[in-house]
């Protein structure tokens, strides 16, 4: 058992515990904080796999930007604590069925597909350099240029949509 394995096991424990904490917490702010912790541990997994760029993007985008917005909305709406009982009676059994189906599916995939020889290991050190970043950027802006541009146009449409929605509301009030 080398040091990397120990780090992995500790992190795995933290990430599973934080995911469970996120689901079972009755307070929305605590849920959001557990999710942030989970994102950060996932980012460290990426670092262990030798992908610093993805790791830093994970922290910046998910743990930083998106979760701060979540917190912002939770605090602004004052929706911190859940009501004590579920509002829809059929929701709970359906949720149990669906989650157990998902769990079975995931376990099936893990036990059929994953063999020790095919396990993801850290790529060699040459990938972990500035050159890999350059290579990724080149791929992104040459081979995958069209999907990239389409994604950015989608985001732009979403932004314009938000502005239009807000404006209409204001006009209606007047």
């Amino acid at each position: 058992m080398n040091s990397e394995m120990i780090v992995f096991l500790v992190l795995a424990l933290v990430s599973i515990a934080s995911a469970l904490g996120m689901v079972f917490s009755r307070n929305a702010v605590y849920s959001a904080l557990f999710l942030v912790l989970n994102f950060v541990t996932v980012a460290i997994f990426y670092l262990l796999l030798g992908a610093p760029f993805i790791a830093m993007s994970q922290i910046t985008v998910y743990a930083g930007a998106i979760m701060v917005l979540f917190l912002f909305v939770i605090m602004l709406l004052g929706a911190e604590s859940l009501p004590p009982s579920a509002t829809l009676p059929w929701q709970k059994p359906l949720a149990y069925v669906l989650t157990s189906a998902l769990a079975v599916e995931a376990l099936y995939l893990v036990f059929t597909r994953a063999r020790s020889s095919e396990l993801v290991t850290s790529p060699d050190a040459s990938l972990n350099s500035m050159e890999s970043l350059r290579e990724m950027a080149l791929q992104l802006f040459s081979q995958y240029l069209l999907p990239f541009e389409i994604t950015s146009i989608l985001l732009l449409v979403a932004m314009v949509g938000v502005i239009v929605l807000v404006r209409q509301e204001k006009a209606g009030q007047k």
Binding site: M56, A63, G64, A65, V68, F72, M75, M130
Partner: protein, 379 residues
């Protein structure tokens, strides 16, 4: 990896923390003395020679102050928030190079903790994490004013983070790398602040907003929110917020110096002379120190000069002025460098400052027109 390697890391991290902690203590003295000078006062000069022991006296006072925890707070988060504010302000300094390297007992010691190849992304990710401390302090205090301070700070920091990212992009394009060490070395021939003066100015404004310094200190606007997010904090926990604010000032000055003002390097026209860091490694930290002192003075000067900007104008300034401006600057920088490369004439690089200054003047004219129109409307 042998144990000396670990020892080197531990010592470097320890020294960096020590620099930031003592730096924080003496920055408070520096700020108080400089502010006093600008307001024709004397400032603290009783403890020790010229008040040099004042920070130690303050620290002793803060440690012995009564620690008060209000009964209505969310306890866990209330304790966590000051820690979450201080830690990012310390760890962000890990990628900033303080100098080149030197040899001791046959070992090359580099003057930075880590050379991360995605250094700038590291900076932006830690900067985005730094919001949590303030937001959570505001929320967990369970107090209207603290809450508003927290919400304001999150809105402000998210808004200005976009321009911060674009200013980072300018430095990345010019340095042709994301590693801060490469960026510093790329400034050997010319500081980036000379090629892209408006970019450096925009970056300075954005980092002022990111560290909640005057005139952008909305999260703690006293006349509106008592003390904003740290209203309910006292004793050492308050001291931690105070510490984080001043450490952030030091760190962003270091980052600004590194990205636009040559980092630990000398003036570009001194590059092959006796004053170069290539001759004496120990000049590196001294140059960086002097630059940081100058930038900190600028921040204190701004605080003494300008009143706080109104909140809606702060948001409008971030979204409607700084974001388009920094986008335009990134575009100009990229095209200028592409032109110089494609036509292989290095003189074309001076297209960048010319066009950026034109864009800057247009921006100023537009702001001026807008403000004038508004004031007419009010009459």
């Amino acid at each position: 990896m042998d144990w000396t390697f670990w020892l080197e890391w531990v010592i470097k991290g320890f020294v960096l923390c020590l620099i930031l902690l003592t730096g924080f203590a003496y920055l408070t003295l520096y700020e108080r003395r400089a502010l006093a000078r600008m307001q024709i006062r004397i400032g603290p000069n009783r403890a020790g020679y010229q008040g040099l022991l004042q920070p130690i006296a303050d620290a002793v006072k803060l440690i012995f102050k009564e620690e008060l925890t209000p009964s209505h707070v969310y306890k866990v988060v209330f304790f966590l928030a000051p820690i979450l504010t201080v830690v990012p302000s310390l760890v962000i300094a890990a990628v900033i190079p303080l100098g080149t390297q030197f040899e001791i007992a046959g070992r090359t010691i580099t003057l930075y903790v880590a050379d991360v190849n995605v250094g700038i992304l590291y900076l932006s990710s830690i900067a985005s994490i730094a919001v949590y401390g303030i937001v959570l302090a505001g929320w967990s205090s369970n107090n209207k004013y603290a809450m508003m301070g927290g919400i304001r700070s999150s809105a402000q920091m998210i808004s200005y983070e976009l321009s911060l990212g674009l200013c980072f992009v300018i430095a990345i394009i010019m340095g042709n790398s994301m590693s801060l060490i490469d960026i510093v070395n790329a400034q050997k021939d010319m500081w980036f602040a000379v090629i892209q003066p408006v970019g450096a100015l925009a970056f300075l404004i954005v980092v002022l907003a990111e560290v909640n310094r005057a005139p952008f200190d909305m999260p703690e606007a006293e006349q509106e929110l008592t003390a904003g997010y740290h209203s309910e904090y006292s004793g050492m926990k308050f001291a931690l917020f105070f510490m984080a604010e001043y450490q952030k000032m030091i760190v962003v000055s270091m980052i600004t110096a590194t990205l636009f003002f040559g980092g630990y390097r000398e003036f570009w026209f001194l590059k092959d002379t006796f004053f170069s860091v290539d001759y004496f490694w120990w000049l590196g930290p001294i140059y960086l120190f002097l630059k940081v002192i100058a930038l900190l003075f600028l921040m204190i000067w701004i605080r003494a000069t300008w009143p706080r900007i109104r909140y809606d104008r702060l948001m409008a300034f971030g979204w409607k002025i700084l974001l388009p401006l920094s986008l335009a600057l990134a575009f100009i920088t990229a095209s200028g460098i592409l032109l110089a490369q494609e036509l292989s004439s290095p003189l074309l690089i001076w297209v960048i400052p010319v066009f950026s200054i034109i864009v800057f003047l247009v921006t100023v004219a537009l702001i001026n027109r807008d403000l004038r129109r508004k004031s007419y409307g009010r009459i």
